[in-house]
């Protein structure tokens, strides 16, 4: 839709929008090697996380048990909803589950919601900023505004949840109890090779499925948006069609954004709860 997009082929246009603003710390070893950092993901997720914390802090700063202000009431409703969901799914004693659930839900929700900013607005602004401030070619500046459409961000959260699961299991059962269950559940001690294999697969599949579900949904959503904007570049009719389709997909995406954040939070809480249960 933007000026430069019309000079690109659709493939180039989509590839441009799916590129990260990456900085390779070791450019001599390999291009886009492991020591690369995605600046756009980092900056967006940090800014949104900071926004979340500041928003909550504003409500907490003047938190009163008397009549709450409007913002405090709103934050309380949101956090109490998450707290209620977490308490329904988790029956242990840990005080950490609710903060984990709050962080997951609100942070993911904000990051997913970046999908609603039209991609070409972001590309235009980042191009202008990149060329004006850093002297880069505006078409070479990539900026992915949706951190959850970067598999690094979703995997980072699910792996953190994975370690929290291990931590919860160890705290509830001790190292001996945890290893004992790894060997004996679910088929009894004589089937320990099968048990161990099954348990490891089960354990590892949880963070992978968490991360891939969220990443897939957001990445897919982004690509559908991009295809719609490619349609918009065809001409006047295409622009009209793209507007209608974009609106439809955007409305549908509201559901996905909230649902995926909720699913990630709920499953994390359920996994944490499961790890504390004795088999």
């Amino acid at each position: 839709m933007s000026d430069h997009a019309e000079k690109l082929t659709p493939t180039e246009y989509i590839q441009h929008h799916l590129g990260h603003l990456a900085h390779d710390l070791t450019p001599n070893i390999s291009k886009d090697g492991f020591m690369t950092v995605h600046f756009d993901t980092m900056v967006m997720s940090f800014a949104l996380g900071l926004m979340m914390c500041l928003g909550f802090w504003l409500a907490t700063r003047k938190a009163t048990s008397g009549v709450p202000g409007k913002w405090q009431a709103f934050v309380e409703i949101v956090l109490e909803f998450i707290d209620g969901q977490a308490k329904d799914a988790y029956h242990g004693t840990s005080k950490l589950v609710t903060p984990i659930a709050i962080t997951l839900f609100c942070w993911i929700l904000l990051m997913n919601a970046m999908d609603f900013i039209p991609v070409d607005f972001v590309a235009k602004i980042s191009g202008i900023v990149g060329s004006a401030v850093f002297g880069l070619d505006p078409h070479a500046v990539h900026w992915r505004p949706v951190p959850t459409a970067d598999v690094n961000a979703t995997l980072a959260m699910s792996i953190t949840v994975f370690f929290l699961m291990i931590f919860f299991a160890l705290r509830a059962k001790g190292l001996g109890g945890f290893l004992h269950e790894m060997f004996t559940a679910p088929f009894g001690k004589w089937m320990f090779p099968a048990n161990i294999l099954l348990n490891i697969v089960e354990l590892l599949s949880k963070p992978v499925s968490l991360a891939m579900r969220l990443f897939g949904n957001m990445y897919g959503g982004e690509i559908v948006f991009l295809l719609i904007w490619v349609l918009g570049s065809i001409g006047f009719g295409g622009a009209i069609a793209a507007s209608v389709l974009g609106l439809g997909w955007g409305l549908f995406h509201i559901l996905i954004v909230i649902l995926q954040a909720f699913i990630f939070m709920m499953l994390s809480v359920v996994y944490l709860s499961l790890m504390e249960e004795h088999h």
């Binding site: 020591m35 980092m42 914390c53 956090l79 984990i100 970067d150 598999v151």
Partner: protein, 156 residues
């Protein structure tokens, strides 16, 4: 989808946000919520208590009013009784006084008439003597005819 250092940076960031929420945000807010819940529960309990107290007070007031009405009735009854007693007594006194006065008057009348009779009798006796003297043309000796004179006087 290339996995790189971003993963670790993001994981650290996520852990840091959890820490911030767990230490700075959720405890004060949930404390405020719980405190408010307690306040509301207390308030509701107080309202219930006040309602009960009001009902008790109403019952007590109604009781007092009923008692006062009974008392007032008794007092008016007694007052009526007393009033009739006083009136009766006054009536009786008046009757007694009237009877006494009449008796005194009657006694006085009897006394006066007796006196008048006595005076008349003596005058009649004297008149009779004088009449008899005139008839007889001579003096009657009162001493001699005392017995006769007295007889005439009693006859009158």
């Amino acid at each position: 989808m290339n996995i790189n250092l971003t993963l670790f940076a993001q994981a650290l960031m996520f852990a840091a946000f959890i820490w911030v929420i767990a230490t700075k945000i959720w405890p004060p807010l949930s404390n405020a919520i719980e405190e408010r819940q307690k306040k509301i529960a207390d308030g509701l309990a107080a309202a219930d208590r006040a309602k009960q107290e009001l009902a008790d007070a109403d019952a007590r007031v109604a009781d007092e009013i009923r008692k006062a009405r009974v008392d007032a009735g008794q007092i008016t009854d007694k007052a009526h009784q007393q009033a009739t007693q006083i009136v009766d007594k006054a009536k009786q006194d008046a009757l007694a006084e009237a009877a006494r006065q009449r008796a005194a008057a009657e006694a006085e009348i009897a006394n006066l008439s007796a006196k008048a009779k006595e005076v008349l009798r003596t005058q009649v006796a004297a008149l009779a003597v004088r009449g008899a003297e005139k008839v007889l043309g001579r003096e009657i000796d009162a001493a001699r005819h005392r017995e006769l004179l007295d007889q005439v006087a009693t006859e009158i």
